[in-house]
Amino acid sequence: MTAQGVQLDTTEALNLFLADVERRALRMAQIAVGTLDDALDLAQDAMLDFVRRYATRPEGEWKPLFYRILQSRITDWHRRNTVRNRLRFWFGGAGDGDENDGDQLENVADSRGDTPAELLLRRDLASALERAVKSLPLRQQQAFLLRAWEGLDVAETACAMGCSQGSVKTHYSRAVHTMQGLLGEYRS
């Protein structure tokens, strides 16, 4: 196989990988930072950085490495936001607060043909779920979404979060406990 053929194969594999993870990555970023525009920027930056740094690594390592970049960007965003809020507080500026905080799940049409009662329950659950995940501390949120949603194992999650496996277990366990408490009424 020629070098160009290998390049095209890698590009195609990257395309499939990114197409698979990009929506969940966007949603994770949106839950973490609150606004769709910021989440889109973070997801796009993560994709660019991932391709630049890790495209040549084995495909099996891509997922934790991609999420490592994304989570790192999200953490950086929170740090910058904290500094910005402090400056705003010191200089007496009043933030507008509710910029683009709309609930995306409430604005999308449901085309699955559920009954109104099921729709209401589902919408309630979606809304409650989003609130519950957002209420988790950032590290617990990251551990919960990477383990429970993205399906990473403990070692991969530790790589993605840049911490030890023991920390992942602690964060995840606390997150599940909190989520069960917050969403207890929706448990079947």
Binding site: Q7, T10, T11, L14, N15, L18, A19, E22, R23, R24, L26, R27, L36, L40, A43, Q44, D45, M47, L48, F50, V51, R52, A55, R80, Q104, L105, V108, A109, D110, R122, L125, A126, L129, E130, L145, A148, W149, V176, M179, Q180, L183, Y186, R187, S188
Partner: protein, 120 residues
């Protein structure tokens, strides 16, 4: 039903709900995501990086740092050196030799004396 099984079902339900939210992203958002992916893949294909690829906050921060550094260096180099008593080596010699001070204090008198003394 044991606790593990209930927890597994609970997490499965949450996963389904999160998946539903992702499936219902609006077309504009999906187009923007795809555009970002294509840009990233273009980089993989060409392998090149341009100045414009640097995030804006990095360029803005870098520009601010360079500006502050330039201003600081120019202020430092333009400031008068007040702590330097003598700017030239001969001045240093004058300052160092204490016994010469009287001569320099009365320099005008000695100059007048020399001029007028010769005249007489």
């Amino acid at each position: 039903m044991n606790i593990d099984k209930r927890e597994k079902e609970f997490l499965q339900r949450i996963k389904q709900e999160l998946d539903c939210g992702v499936e219902q992203l609006d077309p504009v958002t999906l187009a923007r995501l795809k555009s970002g992916r294509m840009r990233a893949l273009e980089k993989a294909h060409t392998g090149g990086w341009r100045f414009g690829d640097i995030p804006r906050w990095v360029t803005a921060g870098g520009f601010a740092t360079v500006t502050v550094a330039v201003v600081a260096v120019s202020l430092w180099s333009a400031a008068p050196r007040r702590n330097m008593v003598a700017a030239h080596p001969e001045d240093t010699e004058i300052v160092a030799s204490q016994e010469q001070f009287d001569l320099y204090d009365d320099l005008e008198f000695y100059r007048w004396l020399a001029e007028n003394g010769d005249a007489r």
